[in-house]
Each structure stands twice: as C-alpha cells, then as structure tokens.
C-alpha cells in the first residue's frame, strides 16, 4: 500500500523540482548572473522525502574485501551514537593533517577557557588523528569515509606509554541518494552520517568544531520503528549465510509506568517465518504477474514483506501473552550482526553485512536534511 502511494507522489515531486527552479529563475534573471544550469534549482529535500519501499538484500563480504581490516576493526564491535550532518563546505580529504591540528587546538582552547592556543605545535596530552577509510564507498558518488580518533595520555603515564583512544567517530556516506549528492555544488562534500563514541564532552566539542570549520549543522539521528523493522528483516535475511544468533526485539508500550517487552526469537524460527513471507509474496507476485519486476527478485526485499514479518511476530506474541504489541513502538533490535536502538545507537558486530546497515542509516540521515 505504501508502494502505491509513493508511485502517486512521484509526479508531485518531479514538479517540485520545477517549482524551485522556477523561483530561482526570477532571481537569476534580475541578478543576471550564473547560467541556467543552477545548483539552487534542485530540491533534494523534497524529492528524497520519498521513503524507500524496496531494498537490495544485503550481500556479505563487499566491505571486507576492499577495506583495510585494521581500520575495519575500529568500526565494528563498538556502540556508536548516530548524528546527521548537513553537507560539509570546503572539506578536503587532502587537508586531514591540518584538520587534526585545528581540532586539537580547538579542543585545548575550549578546555582552558580564555587561554589562547597557537595552532602550530600546541602541546597537549591529547592527539587527534584524521584518516581516510578507503574502500567503504559503494558508488562513485559516495565520498570517502573519514575517521577521527582522539588519543590521550594520562597524567601519570610515562613517556613511552601508548596513548589511549578516548574518542572516535567517523563520517560516512554509503550509497547516498545520487540525486541529492549530485545536486550539491562542487565545494560541498556530502558525508551525512556521523557515528561517534567516547566522552560526551569530546563529542560535543568535535561537533561544534565541525560545525564551525565546515559550516555544517549536526543533529541527532534516531532510528524510527520502520527502520528498525527493516533492520530486523534484513538481518534475518542473512541467517542462512551467517548465523544471526538470536533475534531480539524490544517494544516499549505506552502505559504508566512504561512497559518494556523483550521478545527473543530463535534464529531458525525467525528465518522460517521470514522465508515463508518471502515465498508467499513471491507466489502472489507470480500470479498477478507483471505488476513489478523488482519485488519478485530474490535480491530485493519489499516493505510489504517486512511489515508482514513483523506482524507475524506480533501475532505470535499475542497468541501467547494476549498483549498487542502494535500499540507500542519497536525500540530495539539486536542480532549477532548488530544492535540498533531507537535512540540512535547502533553497534555493528559483523563487518560482513555492514554495508546494508550503513546504507539504511545514510538514507535516514539524508531524510533529515533541511534543504
């Protein structure tokens, strides 16, 4: 049903493009600058509002082959707090060294309010490292992922002690909507997803530095229940290739006091329910053939399948406990592949299926873009 509505919306969106451009043309004509191929003529905000109703089933090992395993190990098995970032202005992957210095000086200056800090050779127990994680991108439009690490040395440590990693974060864009990314002027770099982990004060300092240095805006990103359902389904779909452990779902029911319900499903049961949904749908698809080729594909997962899967789980729960979960909201999903929370925390435990998760999160982040 969602699919139909989205089809109906498409023409509206395409008209929207015209509208913006139309209004721009007024400005252009009187400013008589810039040619007709203007960048302000795009309207990513409104075109990308469309929700994805069908995704590719995750494939394993796309990342593990291309990314340096050492770097990859830094990204997995850690809980990340998600934020969305508007496109970075004048960000250069070649300037990372200088950014390290600037961020360090900024942190030191903020730490000791009012004491100025020279940018060159600021002395501190902290060390900031920016690095590029190559090979994460799935399309040519995706900018390379940037990893920021802050190491610290405790006061009592001796000279030779290695610095401890106190904060890390990475900016990434995996399969970002090409319409959106291409519509941006050349001097913007679109890395809409920021994952951070570490001390809160450092997070806020890094964020405010990013905002000042690249004139971007950063806001917190939560994962709504639809996207959590997607993750549950996509992860379950991986079960035959890689054991998902247990599928754990957490619902929050709006009662007083709030009731949290944890629902753990045996992986094999989850998989069977899921594959039966898939089979069922594909049969239907074949019956009234030709409606859509995409949905019948083995590679792609449809939103209908996802909702049916979750509904099946909910029904099962209702049979046993007489509690209707549809009144509540899905607040957490976890499997052996990862854990995602409604509050925007995510932990990716296996790098194999990382891309699918990140694609979904990139999409969530792009949906938050104000323009």
């Amino acid at each position: 049903m969602e699919r139909h509505s989205s089809v109906a919306e498409t023409p509206v969106n395409s008209v929207m493009v015209q509208r913006r451009s139309g209004s721009k043309s007024f400005r252009q004509s009187y400013r008589s600058c810039v040619g007709a191929a203007s960048h302000l003529g795009y309207t990513p905000g409104l075109t990308t509002r469309r929700l994805t109703t069908s995704r590719r089933a995750p494939r394993s090992r796309t990342v593990t082959e291309s990314v340096n395993p050492e770097q990859l190990s830094l990204l997995v098995k850690k809980e990340w707090q998600l934020s969305y970032v508007t496109p970075l202005h004048h960000f250069r992957h070649t300037q990372l060294r200088s950014y390290s210095r600037q961020l360090l000086a900024f942190i030191v200056a903020e730490k000791q309010q009012g004491l100025a800090v020279a940018l060159e050779g600021a002395e501190s127990s902290l060390k900031v490292v920016f690095s590029v994680v190559e090979g994460m991108a799935t399309t040519d439009d995706d900018a390379d992922t940037v990893l920021i690490q802050i190491h610290s040395k405790s006061v009592f440590a001796s000279q030779d002690d290695p610095r401890r990693l106190v904060w890390s974060g990475w900016l990434t864009c995996i399969n970002g909507s090409p319409d959106y990314v291409r519509s941006l002027p050349k001097d913007f770099v679109c890395l809409p997803l920021l994952c951070s982990s570490g001390a809160q004060w450092l997070t806020s300092l890094v964020k405010s530095w990013l905002e000042r240095a690249f004139d971007c805006c950063i806001g917190s990103l939560d994962i709504n229940s639809v996207n959590l359902q997607w993750l549950a389904a996509l992860w379950t779909n991986c079960h035959p290739e890689s054991n998902i452990g247990q599928l754990k779902l957490m619902w929050t029911l709006p009662v007083d006091p709030p009731l949290e319900i944890a629902f753990t499903v045996h992986p094999q049961d989850a998989w069977e329910l899921w594959s039966s949904m898939r089979g069922q749908l594909q049969e239907e698809e074949q019956e009234n053939e030709g409606v859509g080729e995409g949905a019948g594909d083995k590679d792609s997962v449809d939103i209908d399948e996802v909702t049916r899967f979750i509904d099946g789980l909910k029904n099962h729960f209702y049979r046993h406990f007489r509690l209707d979960l549809s009144a509540g909201t899905l607040s957490q999903v976890s499997t052996a592949l990862g854990t995602a929370k409604h509050s925007g925390r995510i932990k990716i435990s296996s790098s194999s299926y990382m891309n699918a998760t990140l694609m979904l999160l990139t999409e969530c982040a792009l949906l938050k873009m104000p323009v």
Partner: protein
Amino acid sequence: MATSQNSSGPPDLDSSSPSDQSACSRSSNRSLRVAEIERRKNEAEDPFVLALKYFSDVEAGTPVTGNDDVERNLVAVERVAYSKGLPPEAISIMLEFAMSLRMGTSPCVRVLKCLIPATVVPQEAVVRAVVWLCVGKIPLSTQVLFIKWVLTMFDMIDAKDQLHSIYGFLFSFVTEENLVCVVMILLHCLRLFRVRKLLDLQSKMGRQPFLMHLLSLYKVFCPELVTLSLPSRMKAGFRNHNSQWKSALIAVQKKNSFQVTSSVSLTVRLKDKTNPRKRKHNHLEVPALSSAVNTQTNPSSSRKLVPLVQLHSFSLLLENLHHIELPAQMGSLLGSSLALQYLDCVQDESAFLRLNFWLGHALHEEFLFCSSGVSQNSEEVLQFLDRLLSSQHFLQEGFSSTEAFLYKFLNIWDGSLLRPQILGMLSNIPVVPSSCIRQLLFEPLMQLFFTSTLFFKCGLIECLNSMLLKWLTWHSVYALEDGLDISLNSHTSINMTLSGFKDSLMELVHFVGRLASVGLQIEGCHSLLLSFILDFYETVCDMFLKYGLPLVVMPPAGVFYPALFATDPVSVDRLAHIMYRYKVNLMSAKTQEKQTEQAFHISRQTYREFNHYLVVMVNCLWNSKMFQPGMGVEMEEELLVSSKVPQYWSSFDFIHHPAFLSYAVDFHHKCWPGSRNVDFNSIKHPKPWGWYLEYLYAQGFEGLKQFVQSNISRRSTAGDGQGDGLSADQR
C-alpha cells in the same frame, strides 16, 4: 582626580563660545579681504595663538608653581580645546611640550587631558611623543595616560605608516596596562613571532583580560595562527579608555558638525548572552561572525580577500565589496546588520545553500524534530524568528529553507503558536506553481482556517493578501525586465512562464475567494473579517493597472453579497470602490486589447460576471428594483408578500439600506427640520435625491461617489429623477 582638575574648564568655556560664534557670523558678511585683515589682527591678539607661541618657546626648567603665565596660557588652550577642539598644529605643539617634560610632570597630565583634536592628529606628533616615551623619564601613570590618549584618538591620526614602523618599540611596552597600545597597531601588521611572544606572556601572567582581548583580536585577523575560546562571562571589549576624552571629543565634533566615524571598534564581539540559563538545545543561536580558517584561496594568485569580520562600517563594506571573504559560518550573517547588506549582493550559490542549511536545520530541529515539543513562545524563539523575518524583509525575499520548512510545519501547526511570525514567514514564500499549490499550501491552510478563531481567519486573509502583493510586485519587477513572457529567454523548460504565473495567481485568488465565502458564513458576516477580505479584493481588482498583469478575477457571490448587504456603510462603500476599480481595469484592458491586438485577453465570462454584479448593485442601490427575476438574489413573490415588508423591492436602496438608513434619517431631519413624520419617499424626488447623494459623499463615502459617477448617467431633468442608464456594458 582628573575630574576635580578639569571641572572648571567646560563651564566658563561655554559662556565664551556664543560670542565667538557671533563674531564669526558678523565677519562672514564682509568682503574676503577685510575678513583676512581682521583675522590676522585677531590672531595677533588671540590669547590662544599667544599661548601656543608661549608653549612652543618656553624654556626647559621654567618653574610652574606661582607662574601666572603658564596658568593663563593653559586656560586659554583648554578653553579652545573644550569648545572647538585643537587644530593639528596646536596638538603637535602641546604634545611636544607635555612629553618633553620641559616644565616637569605636573602640567604634562593637565595638557594631555585637554588634547581634544578638532580634525585630525598629526602622525609626526604621535611618533615624536613615542620617542619621548622611550627616553624613559616619564612616570608610569603618565605613560599610561598617553597611551590611552593615543588609543582614544587612534581613528583621528592622519596616517599610520610610520606608526607601523615603530611597532617594535611599542611592542616593547608590553607591560600590564600599557599593553593595550599594541592593539591598535596590530590591526595592520601582524607577525607570527608576536603571537608566540604573547602566548609566552600569557603563560607567565595567566588569563589577564587585556591579553585575552588582544589574542581574540589575533583570532579575528589570523585565525590560522591562534585559536581561543572566550569564557562567556568575560566582559566585552577593553575598559573604556577614558570616557572623559570621548565625551569631550563627541561634544567638540558635534559642535563642528564633523563626524569621524569610528572605523575601528576595539571591542571584541561576543555572542549576545541574552539568556544566562543554558538551553538544552541551542539550535536557535546565531553563530558569531568569524573568519574562515580553511579558505582554499591561493594567496599568491588571487586578490587579497577581506574577511567580513574585519569590516565595521558601511563605507568599508562598499570599498571591499568585490573581495570580501565569507565568514566561516554563513548563519552568522543574520546576526549582523552590515552582513545583511552584503548578503543582498552575494551571488555565490553555495553561500546561500550554506545559509539555508543552517537556517533549515535550526527551524527543523526547533519545531519539527524536537521530541520535547516546541518551547512555547520562549523569548529566544521569538527573537530568532523576528530576526529571520526582518532579514527576509530586508532582502525582500524568503529563504528557500523557510519555505521547505513551512510546507511541513503547516501540517502540524495548531494555528496559534507564534502566529504572527509564522504568518509573516508564510507571506514571504515565492510563487508556488499551480500544480502543487493545493497540496503544499491550500490543504493545510484550509484545515487551519475552518477550525480556528475569527482572529486567525483575519490574520490568514491578511497574510494571503500580503503574499499576493509580494507575488505581484515580484512579477511587475522581473517581468518588465525580461519582457512580458518570462519563458522567452529561458533555455530550459524549468522556468516559470507568464501563464504559469497567472495560473498560480488565479489559484490563490480563487482559494481566498472560497475561504472568504465560507468564512463569512461561519462567522456570520463579521465585519472585521469582511474588512480583511475587502482588503484582499482591493489588491485583486487592480492587478491589471497597478502590476501589469493581464488577469481580472471577480469576487465570488459569497463575498459580493455579504459586502453589498453589510450593515456597516464602510463595507458597502469599499465594495463600491472595488467595483469602480474593476471597471477602470476592465475598460483599459479592453482598449489595450483593441489597440495592440495582443494575444492576452480577459475572458468574456469575467465581463459577464462584472456586468451582472454591476446590474445588481445599480438595481439594488439606485433603482430600488430588488428581487427581480434574473438577479442574483431571487425570491418567490408569495414569500416576499408574506414577509409583510412594505415596498420590499426598495429595501436595499440608498435610503433603506440598513447601512445608510441612519444617514437617510439624519438627512431628512436636516432637509425638513419641522416635519414630524419621516417620509423617505420625499427624498426620492430629483432635487432632494441629488442633495442626498451630495450629503452621502460629504460623509466620506468616496467609493460610492466613484461608483455612481462612473456607472450612472443621471438625466438631471428626468421626470422620475432616477438615473437608469447603465454605461457599463462591456459585454
């Protein structure tokens, strides 16, 4: 101490100044030659000139105490200084006298205090004084006083090149309070080792406020060298150097009607801390203006760019208009009035995009994403939106991010939260194409309109009126520039064509027509609402003549009849005015159509509607032929008879119309003061009818006058006295 010494100065000077001025004005009448002689003679006797002579010639070591000459001459100088200010030569002489300590330190302080320049301070004088400073005999307090003086007068020093070359000397005076003097120089020359030295100094002396200020200036001018975050509690700026000098200077400048605009303000701009309480979310904080660190410009190839932070006056902005470097955060432009001026001529699209990202983010986070709900009317939200509105007002256009935001926000708005601000933003949105105007704008607005109070309805109609006005103004500006058809010079299909624009406009006018019809019904034809609706139609009826848009849209019956039968005469009068303007517009459109044979034309339907309304109005107000078949309002004969209203057909003419009845009674009293019975029919005779009309016009009903005069040709001698000709038959 300073006040007690100088307190005698200004008062007695004030008494002398009028005589000076009058002498001036008298001499101006004479011929130049005579004036010249007079001037020379005056000069020779002028105690001021004599005093200057005395101070430049006085020998070192002359005693001060008990020396009447010194006292007298000093008073003479002070008198001039505080009344007119000292000319440059006098400044040189007095500064030289004071700093050389020819008569010791005691007159030195007094002289420094009265060094108020009339126009400029010669650079050489300052340089010489610095030389004396280096000799080192001057007591510390006097040194400080001198440096403060330089700082206060810094803008008035005529050139600064030599000062720059003695920068090193000045820098060596970096000891506590003296340090401030460096500030002025560093504005123009900065070197890396200086920063180092200051940083060293800071590590020795700790967080001295003046050091912080100096370093924060470095931060402004050399963001790539130093970074610093200022504690929020720090007071802004340096201590006021000497308010006494300043006030004296201002007084003198006022008198000379000569204003040196302070080009360099030595205050560090801090974020305005309106609210000490830290908000949980501070999306709405306008970032401080600061220069970008990561500018990618190649210093060798490109012209030197001036960061916007360094510009403090409009003239400086104009001088540097073509090589201004945008600030690190575009959002900061909203915080400064000067920057807004610049924003108006920024042609950089990514700059606008950056601004829109920031603005959209702030609005989204505050109103849409905020889980805790919108902070109700908090002071900050209000301030932010008002600032946004005034910026949009200044730029005369809305930001695209507010537009995108509004389309979403309208769906969840309750219609009361920040109503004036939201409606203000709404009225700024640019033309929406007719294909999506319904979904984006009309549907949410319709819901709000029908479920809200009368005041919201009025507010919304007013907002839509100003939106229409802006669209029309926009059209009249751009369309004229680009020729009638805007699509002509576009290379792509994405531009808005004139017909597209007309469609959108028509949609808007029809939409308001629908809102108005139903709104009037719901609110029982409330006259306040009616007034706002008539405002709207006053704009609509003149679209062709005022804005050159070949489009005439008549009001729907739901607006026309309530206005025609309104109980207040003002509404009827305004309706008459609107009908008159419609007529003028239609007539001129018709003649233009005939003359130029251009493709545009106004549909026959519009003419028909207009004629119909006109006939109704004339029949109703003038001919007393209400309820006739074929008119808009028809009723069955029997029903009318059973209502037992006598002469129901005339119940809405100028006499019996509820809005004018009281005027008719009043007129009757004036015409026939004696008669007890009010017989309205007597007014209908030709002569009193004419008088009655004049009487109505005299009450200020201009619209009625225009309407009657343009539409009704009265046969002055006609028997029944009632005009009947309809001149308006445009078909």
